[in-house]
Symmetry: C2
Subunit: 182 residues, 2 copies
C-alpha cells in the first residue's frame, strides 16, 4: 500500500461511479467510521453531497468538527464494509473491533484508511435541512496506484452488492463533455 496524491481535479471521478463509501470522522477524542451509499457529485471542484443525519452516531462529529474523509473500499473489503455498517460508534471502537488500519490525513483530523483504493479529505461547507444533505468540499485526495484489486462495490439496497465489471472507453465520443485537462 502506497497512497499517492491525486490531483483534486480528478477527485470527482472517485465518487461519480456511485461506489459504497466509508466516512471517517473525529470528535477530537475518538475516531469513528461509517458506511454510506447515498452520495452524489455536485461539481468538478470537487464538491460532494452525502445524505446522513442524527440516526448515524458519526453525524454529531461530522456536523460539529465539519471535517471528514471519504474512503473508497474495494470488493476484497466487503466484510469490513458490512461490519462497519452494522455496528455503531456509540458502543464500539470500530477500528479495533474490525482491525481497520488508519493513518493521519494531511489537512483534516479524521484519519485516512490506507487499505482503501482512495481517500478524499473533506470540509463540511453546508448542511441542507430538512433533507439531511451534507455538502462537502474535497480539499485533498490520494490513491493507491499499486493496488491489484481495484473493483469497487455498489450497494443495491436490498443486502446485495454489485461489483465493478468491465470498463468501456468512450473518451473520444465524450470529449466535448469532459472538464478541461481530464
Amino acid at each position: 500500500m502506497a497512497l499517492e496524491e491525486l490531483p483534486l481535479s480528478r477527485g470527482f471521478t472517485l465518487l461519480e461511479p456511485g461506489p459504497v463509501v466509508l466516512v471517517t470522522t473525529s470528535d477530537g477524542k475518538r475516531d469513528n467510521v461509517m458506511t454510506i451509499t447515498w452520495t452524489m457529485v455536485l461539481d468538478f471542484s470537487p464538491t460532494f453531497a452525502i445524505k446522513t443525519g442524527p440516526w448515524n452516531y458519526s453525524y454529531a462529529a461530522l456536523s460539529e468538527s465539519k471535517e471528514c474523509v471519504l474512503a473508497i473500499p474495494t470488493v476484497d473489503l466487503i466484510d469490513k464494509v458490512i461490519g462497519i455498517g452494522t455496528c455503531s460508534g456509540l458502543d464500539t471502537d470500530k477500528f479495533e473491533a474490525l482491525g481497520l488500519t488508519r493513518t493521519p490525513a494531511r489537512l483534516v483530523r479524521p484519519p485516512l484508511l490506507p487499505d482503501c483504493l482512495a481517500n478524499i479529505e473533506c470540509r463540511v461547507v453546508d448542511i441542507l435541512d430538512p433533507y439531511g444533505i451534507v455538502v462537502l468540499e474535497g480539499i485533498a485526495a490520494c490513491i493507491d496506484r499499486d493496488r491489484q484489486e481495484r473493483r469497487m462495490l455498489h450497494a443495491v439496497g436490498d443486502g446485495t452488492f454489485l461489483v465493478d465489471g468491465e470498463t468501456i472507453d468512450r473518451r473520444a465520443a465524450m470529449r466535448s463533455k469532459l472538464p478541461p485537462g481530464l
Copy 2:
C-alpha cells in the same frame, strides 16, 4: 419488452447502485431527454436528489412542469446514452435523432423509455439553491422483468464507464439495516 409495475418501496434500489440515468421531461409541447450521473437516494419513500441546472436545456421543462421520469439504461444502450448526453434538446429532437422509443407514463406527462431496464415517474418537490439540487419524489415505478441484459453503466467521469459485474449476496449480514419488507 414488457414493463411491469414495481412496488414503490423497491424504487430506491434502482438508483442506489449509482447507475447512469436518463431523465425525460416535457414542456407541454415537446418531450426531451438528458443523461445524468449525479444522482443520490434521499430516503426509502423513495425520494431522490439529482444535480442539474440551467446549462441543461431540460432544466426549464423540469423546473416549470415539476415532473420527470428517471429511466435506467443498460450496457447495450451505451451509444444512445452517450448520444443523448452529447447533443442538446435546444436544436435536436433526440427521440427522432437517436431512434428512441417512448411510451406514455401513468401519472406524469414526460414519457417512459421502454427500452430501459426500469423507469421511475417523479414529481419535483424542491430545488435547493444555490446547489442546483433537485429533490424528486418517486410516485410510480416499473421494470422490464423479461430483459436479458440487465447490467447497468456507471460513469467514471473521464469518458470511461464501468459495467456491472458479479453480484454478492450479503442479505443475511445486512438484515438489521434493511427497510421492512424488502
